[in-house]
Amino acid sequence: MTAATVSPNTQTGTARPWLTAAIVWALLLTVPFWLPMLGGYTALAARVLVFGLAAMSFNLLLGFTGVMSFGHAAYFGLGAYGAGLTLKYIAASTPLAILAGILLGGLAGTLFGLFIVRRRGVYFAMVTVAFGQIAFYVAYSWDSLTGGYDGLRGFSRAPLHLGPLTLDIVNNDKIFYYFLLAVFAIATGLQGLLLASPFGRTLLAIRENERRARFLGIPVERHIWMSFSISCCFTALAGALYALLNNFADPMGLHYSLSGEIVIMAVMGGMRAFWGPLAGAALFVILQDTISSMTVNWMSFVGLIFVLVVLFFPRGMLGIFQKGTGK
């Protein structure tokens, strides 16, 4: 059995990991066909993919390393600015924009991570919030570069050239959706491989029992740092995709309220289940879309649903299908 044949879910005790994955992919691949019939629109599904990827990336830390970051919007927002600034000032290339976004958010997370890996629990969460707010105020104040409060405008995603083939991801929202889905597939595929690898198992070990991990020779701080860095890279990728989706980046993409929303998505969907955060993001985005058209206080309804899920399904939506020691 090679690493690839071991789904990460087998380690978290999901009854049928392949069934869950099959359902998820069947739904994602067919979204543009059935969503309009239910009164949705393709851009809504695109938002689910983007926030789903952000929440799953965040969950590498919370669900699979046992570390709580409350500032992941920082890396999401930096990813968005990295992509937007590249398209606006450097080159009209979508792949380059994505790469720049990953680099900006990923590097920021990697450097910042060096200073915080010795902190635990509340202290870790608080310094991550603090860094997020620093990033927010930089973007907010640096008017000449970022457009300040109004956000960064005046850029647009560029068509994709694959050899002789040109994909019009600019005007055709279905093609853009499938482009996002392809990136999403690569990213989550890599995350799955990561969690099924020996390195991934050391992260589970740290989550389960830091002391035992250390006494098995695992350098806990270094591995938390690596996990943080990887998580930030993927979150930045989600942010870059968000900038491409909206042709826009703004400081609210760095704000701690978004960090909180990412946490809610992951916990609501099930942080011990590989696909849990995606389910949480789907519910969140759909609720936001439907309720916000009725009332500006949509967040209080989302909050209520979050409380109900946590009270009655502490393992989240997908956690219902998991076995565990009932902790």
Partner: protein, 249 residues
């Protein structure tokens, strides 16, 4: 050959002297028991050996190398493994996954993102070995958190053994166990010592276990070394009887 040489080790916490100028030599292949009443400094002593914290004074030499100030992971890499009074395992993972993490760490795969077929086969062999060694084969695919107290302890020992340690430190291996479980764990330790020639240092409260298993016994009291010797010598030692055994019975 001396496996562990502890030279005049002292540990102070503020004004409290938890361990006071204790020396101990453990030979390779020996099973040493450390006993003493509560508050004698046994666990503090253990924590210094395994690297939880450094002593305030004195030196710890392991396999000929001074390790006094080395970190836990560095001592682990040199072949020191430890279990705890309150079992420290990965409760929401299966027995097999618990052991797999240890085997992969011991084989130096900690930071690998991919393993080849041959490496995976090597890991699987290590897991089977640890399972048979500790009699856990039948429980391999159960979550450790669901096992009985005794089997959880066996799983912890199995995980520690994956490191192929030159020195195995067991902090109260039978703590909180019933008659039957105590017997099973004691038997496991005896097998490891007699059949596999592990060097073992253990802290233990159950005197039957201690006197049945140990080659030599070190008695601590109020942070100081009270006595050291074979089980027969310790049983006949009036100082020990007064300070410890007399009270316990």
């Amino acid at each position: 050959m001396t496996m562990l040489d502890i030279r005049n080790v002292t540990k102070r916490f503020g004004s409290l002297v938890a361990v006071n100028d204790v020396s101990m030599r453990v030979e390779a292949g020996e099973l040493r028991a450390i006993i003493g009443p509560n508050g004698a400094g046994k666990t503090t002593f253990f924590n210094m050996i395994s690297g939880f914290f450094a002593p305030s004074a004195g030196d710890i030499v392991f396999g000929g190398t001074t390790v006094t100030k080395l970190a836990v992971t560095e001592r682990v890499a040199m072949g020191m493994a430890r279990t705890f009074q309150i079992t420290e395992i990965f409760p929401e993972l299966t027995v097999r996954e618990n052991i797999r993490i240890g085997v992969e760490s011991a084989l130096g795969f900690r930071q690998r993102f991919w393993l080849g077929k041959r490496q995976v086969a090597g890991v699987d062999r290590g897991i089977e070995e640890a399972l048979t060694h500790t009699g856990l084969t039948g429980q391999a695919d159960r979550l450790v958190g669901e096992l009985s107290h005794g089997d959880q302890r066996a799983a912890e020992i199995a995980t520690a053994l994956t490191l192929k340690p030159r020195l195995l430190l067991l902090d109260e291996p039978t703590a909180g166990m019933g008659e039957h479980e105590t017997y099973a764990v004691a038997n496991l330790i005896r097998r490891l010592h007699k059949n596999s020639a592990y060097t073992i240092v253990l802290i233990e409260h159950d005197m039957r276990v201690v006197f049945n298993l140990a080659d030599k016994i070190t008695v601590l009291g109020e942070g100081k070394m009270l006595a050291e010797g074979t089980p027969a010598e310790i049983a006949g030692n009036p100082v020990v009887q007064e300070a410890y055994l007399g009270k316990a019975e």
